[in-house]
């Protein structure tokens, strides 16, 4: 008997049961994959750092002259050192590397990063293949990150020639790597991996420029760095803590955060929709439950019947959802970062199983509570759809006869929404979440394209173009600001000969040691100095730019860290002398992840080792855009790296903008598909419920098209309300989600909102999806016969 009733119910109420089944499956997929992704992604950087054994402190030295002293100090005096390992990398100039593709020789593009040659045998800062596995290379093979390979158009099997001093060798690209320490564009370092024997050739070459590396595991990274700086080792260039490495992945975390946000939203949508569908379908069952009660069936027998029905539905739906959630979460996690090794989302199957069980439990608990309510309801009340006929509050909705112009379809849509606010609230929230979600990557992209972003990267957004890699072939990297100034002068005169009257402003980067006598210890801080006519483009949060020889400015984080204030006196070791400076300003930008100093343009730092130099600002009168200028000059002077501001930013944020832009279409499509599916299923559910009313409308002369218009308009009103609600929510998301993400990088900036995109095109696409889905969902209106009037209770 029970089986027969269930079988009949499943067959007869096919539409409602199928819709409920689909929603349970979706909820299961969304919940399982999202919880799994959130767990994986939120610990992604830590996981990657652990896996690659990135040390607490990495120490970089110019050459190995002080190797013994540094080793002795770390071993005997280094604070809280647990263990350490040292190694050597060979510094390569970009122009010493050439590629050969199809018989044509081209130059290597390092994307402005320093290039090092190393091996894969260290126990720290390990390098893995694309699948996260250890690897070894044969003699003559070379490996690099997929980003470097992509940038240079390299494929496994391609040839690379490295000519450094007297060693000139051709390598075959073996594979692409994932390199936690040197693989992120934000780190500004690129490591090429070769075999041990090949590396020895370059290392032992007397002309080789070597970089000493010390990987130190310590329980007090800050103390270690502070005491190291106090030792006054001349060759120590910089020390990088694990947290700084982790920060270099903060832009990768933009994608990760987005995935977490999508996950949370999908869970919310799944729960809302599931609850709504359950209430809707159980209400549909009320009438039959009433009839069963009326014919004398016992409460428990009825309850058992419905609990079994919902158990069958929820079990089958959630098991299918569980199966689908594993590839779904793996696929989503894969798209988060090309730079990182993520934990395999598929490996956490237990998370998916727990989530699936949770869905089953929630649904059954909900059904149990709903069926329990029946104990208190009389048979006739159940037949009336759970209503006792008593009503204590006024009817919602509006009056048709008071609308002298409003078309009936518009009225009916609005009236439906006002009469069933809770029903439509689910849809409004779902649509609203989708609208807000779509604005986040859009605003991120637009912020990255903004002129404020350019200025935060030490670029004058109004300049004509930027140039990098101006060293001559075989010249090697510039070692001091003097080399840079000479190089800039050469480029300026070459430009003049070609008819471009340009002014060049270079920004060398030094690591200088600062202290406030009697107050703070010594600390090495990346220091930039604008050398050239254009020094006024840098902005300051407080105070003013350093102008005089004894003036300096620091980033907000440095000021805060050291407890310095504007007007304080600071000492710096420059050219072997202690120089005194007064702090004149505080700024925030992305140089060295927000921890840097700006030296006045007058101070002579030419005897200091120049760590690197920033993209040179080229100013001239031109009507061309930066990208046109870059294209033009790249053709005329192909040996130099001409670029526009966007390219410089992209280079420094690891192509995140491109990743986001690439993600926009699939994300819009995914969101559109989700809300289209929800709209379609909801609409079908409404139609099942409103068959009688639709038949009645038809009987009094309403056309199918007009009835469909009424149904579609309801969805549009819900979407319009969602869009309106999404505007302030999106602004809040900018403030509470995006600003902190950008701030992790070291600088706060205004999130750019381009209204026609954020409030026009993309919501428009989603709106079109909603209309199409509602349109498809209402096709069935045609099939409703006037005879179905009997469905009107």
């Amino acid at each position: 008997m029970l089986q027969r009733i269930l079988k009949k119910d499943m067959k007869r109420r096919k539409s409602v049961n199928i819709i409920l089944f689909i929603f349970i499956t979706l909820a299961s997929v969304f919940l399982s994959s999202s919880v799994n992704n959130i767990l994986v992604v939120s610990s992604a950087v830590d996981y990657y750092m652990d896996r690659a054994a990135v040390p607490e402190v990495s120490l970089f030295t110019a050459g190995t002259d002080e190797e013994q002293e540094i080793n002795d100090w770390i071993e005997n005096e280094g604070p809280l050192v647990r263990s350490y390992e040292s190694g050597i990398l060979v510094i390569l100039a970009e122009k010493s590397i050439t590629l050969e593709r199809g018989g044509i020789e081209t130059s290597f593009n390092s994307n402005g990063a320093s290039i090092y040659l190393g091996t894969s045998d260290a126990d720290h800062c390990k390098v893995f293949d694309e699948n996260g596995k250890s690897f070894s290379l044969n003699k003559g093979e070379i490996a690099m990150t997929s980003g470097v390979m992509e940038r240079n158009g390299l494929e496994p099997g391609d040839k690379i020639r490295i000519a450094e001093g007297s060693v000139d060798k051709e390598f075959t690209v073996g594979l692409s790597t994932k390199d936690a320490g040197f693989g992120n564009d934000m780190a500004g370092m690129t490591r090429l991996i070769v075999s041990e024997s090949d590396f020895s050739m370059y290392k032992l070459n007397p002309e080789a420029d070597l970089l000493g590396m010390y990987y130190v595991d310590t329980d007090g990274a800050a103390d270690f760095v502070r005491e190291l700086n106090d030792q006054g080792f001349l060759s120590v260039m910089n020390s990088v803590t694990r947290s700084t490495y982790a920060m270099a992945y903060s832009f990768d975390m933009v994608m990760a955060s987005l995935l977490i946000l999508i996950g949370i939203c999908l869970i919310l949508i799944a729960m809302l929709v599931l609850r709504f569908t359950l209430v809707f379908t159980i209400e549909e069952d009320y009438r039959e439950i009433g009839i069963m009660k009326a014919v004398g069936m016992k409460g428990f027998a009825i309850k058992k019947l419905y609990l079994i029905k919902y158990l069958v539905l929820v079990a089958s739906g959630s098991i299918i959802g569980l199966a689908a959630s594993v590839p779904a979460s793996s696929m989503m996690v894969k798209g988060v970062s090309k730079n990182m090794i993520m934990e395999d989302a598929g490996a956490n199957l237990w998370v998916n199983i727990i989530c699936t069980l949770l869905i089953i439990l929630l649904v059954m608990l909900f059904c149990y509570c709903c069926t329990n309510r029946l104990n208190k309801v009389s048979a006739i009340a159940a037949i009336r759809g759970g209503q006792t006929g008593e009503r204590y509050s006024g009817r919602g909705g509006i009056r048709l006869h008071r609308r002298s112009r409003m078309p009936v379809a518009v009225f009916l849509g609005i009236n439906d929404m006002l009469s069933h606010v809770r029903r439509y609230l689910v849809m409004i929230i779902t649509f609203g979440i989708s609208f807000v979600l779509i604005t986040i990557p859009l605003n991120t992209i637009n912020t990255m394209k903004s002129s404020e972003m350019a200025s935060k990267f030490c670029l004058d957004p109004d300049s004509a173009v930027y140039v990098k890699d101006i060293e001559k072939q075989g010249e090697g990297s510039f070692k001091s600001s003097k080399d840079l100034i000479e190089g800039m002068e050469r480029v300026r005169s070459e430009l003049k000969d070609a008819g471009y009257d340009a002014e060049l402003t270079g920004i060398p980067i030094y690591f200088l040691q600062y202290e406030q006598a009697g107050k703070t210890g010594k600390s090495k801080i990346a220091t930039v100095q604008a050398l050239g006519p254009n020094t006024g483009f840098m902005t300051y949060q407080e105070g003013s730019a350093p102008v005089l020889e004894n003036e300096i400015a620091f980033s907000k984080d440095i000021m805060k860290e050291n407890g310095w204030e504007i007007g304080d006196s600071i000492e710096a070791a420059i050219n072997g002398k202690e120089e005194k400076f007064i702090i004149t300003g505080i700024y925030s930008d992305y140089t060295q992840l927000g921890r840097s100093a700006r030296m006045n343009p007058v101070m002579d730092c030419s005897n200091e080792i120049m760590f690197d130099y920033w993209s040179i600002i080229v100013d001239m009168d031109t009507d061309s855009s930066q990208s046109e200028m870059a294209e033009e000059l790249n053709k005329l002077f192909p040996d130099y790296g001409w670029s526009d501001a966007q390219e410089v930013i992209d280079r420094n944020v690891g192509g995140i903008q491109q990743s986001l832009q690439e993600m926009m279409i699939p994300m819009t499509a995914l969101l559109c598909a989700i809300i289209m599916l929800i709209t379609f299923l909801m609409e079908r559910l409404f139609i099942v419920r409103e068959k009688g009313e639709i038949a009645m409308m038809k009987s009094i002369g309403y056309r199918n098209g007009y009835i469909r218009l009424w149904q579609i308009l309801r969805m549009i009103w819900a979407a319009v309300i969602s869009m309106a609600a999404a505007v302030p929510l999106s602004l809040l998301a900018n403030h509470f989600v995006l600003r902190p993400i950008f701030a992790i990088m070291g600088a706060e900036l205004k999130i750019q909102v381009i209204p026609w995109q954020v409030y026009g095109i993309y919501p428009g696409i989603l709106m079109a999806g909603i209309i199409i889905a509602a349109g498809i969902g209402t096709i069935n209106v045609k099939k409703i016969n006037i005879r179905e009037l009997s469905n009107l209770e």
């Binding site: 009987s699 009094i700 002369g701």
Partner: protein, 256 residues
């Protein structure tokens, strides 16, 4: 003058590959201002006849002429327009939209008609709805929800709705089937009054008292009109007893 002319109308349902001829070659004419009742045993095809001649359900064969148009040849939209402007319906159950007040349900078809497109038209519709409600004695329930009023009041509201576009014909399917005796009398009085104003009515009923109010009564059996009887125009309540007796005799003769 003919309001509705049905020629050779057939309606067949196929259930589980078995053909069920519900209407067989029905020929029927309803004149303007005529009130025709349809009686017959359960399953004889009364309701199907009503739905088919009103265009609410398609015919398998035959023709239905209404206002010079063949309903069987009209598109779905043309049929909707005709139902909106030219026909009124009263059902056994009082079907109304639950989200709307009684008044809004009444004006619902009118606001969709040509007159309802303009502000002035809507004002006229509101006036007419008020007048109709007043005539049918339900003015006081105008702002009520449909579940707040009695069955009789609701059926009268349904009659108001069927009348709101001044249709040429009203189709009524057991209009008193769900009402008590007093409410039934009131509803039939209203239908008689409307008919008296020139609106044709085709009414399906099981109730002899209701049918006796009609000018002509058809007896349908096995999907065919077996016989009909003309009772003449009803002049007033005084002749009801005589009309009922005449109809009763006729029905007994038919084996009712």
């Amino acid at each position: 003058m003919e309001a509705l002319k049905v020629s050779n109308l057939c309606k067949t349902y196929v259930v589980n590959k078995r053909q069920n001829n519900v209407l067989r070659n029905i020929n029927l004419t309803i004149n303007e201002g005529e009130m025709v009742g349809v009686m017959g045993p359960s399953g004889s095809g009364k309701t199907t006849l009503l739905y088919t001649v009103s265009g609410m359900d398609g015919a398998t064969a035959g023709k239905v002429d209404f206002l010079g148009k063949d309903l069987t040849a009209l598109s779905s939209n043309e049929m909707s327009d005709l139902r909106l402007e030219g026909m009124g319906f009263v059902f056994q159950q009082m079907y109304m939209l639950k989200n709307l007040s009684v008044y809004d349900n009444i004006i619902l078809p009118a606001y969709q008609s040509k007159a309802g497109k303009s502000r002035a038209g809507r004002k006229m519709i509101n006036d007419r709805a008020g007048l109709l409600m007043q005539k049918l004695g339900i003015s006081e329930i105008a702002d009520n929800d449909v579940n707040e009023v009695s069955g009789g009041q609701l059926q009268r509201a349904c009659i108001c709705r069927s009348m709101i576009n001044s249709p040429k014909i009203i189709f009524a399917d057991e209009p008193t089937g769900a009402l008590n005796k007093q409410n039934s009398i009131e509803v039939m009085e209203e239908l008689n009054r409307i008919n008296g104003e020139g609106t044709s009515i085709l009414l399906v009923t099981h109730d002899m008292k209701v049918a006796s109010k009609c000018e002509r009564v058809l007896y349908i059996e096995d999907g065919d009109i077996r016989e009909d009887i003309s009772l003449g125009k009803r002049a007033g309540a005084g002749e009801d007893r005589e009309r009922e007796r005449k109809l009763n005799d006729w029905l007994i003769k038919l084996g009712w």
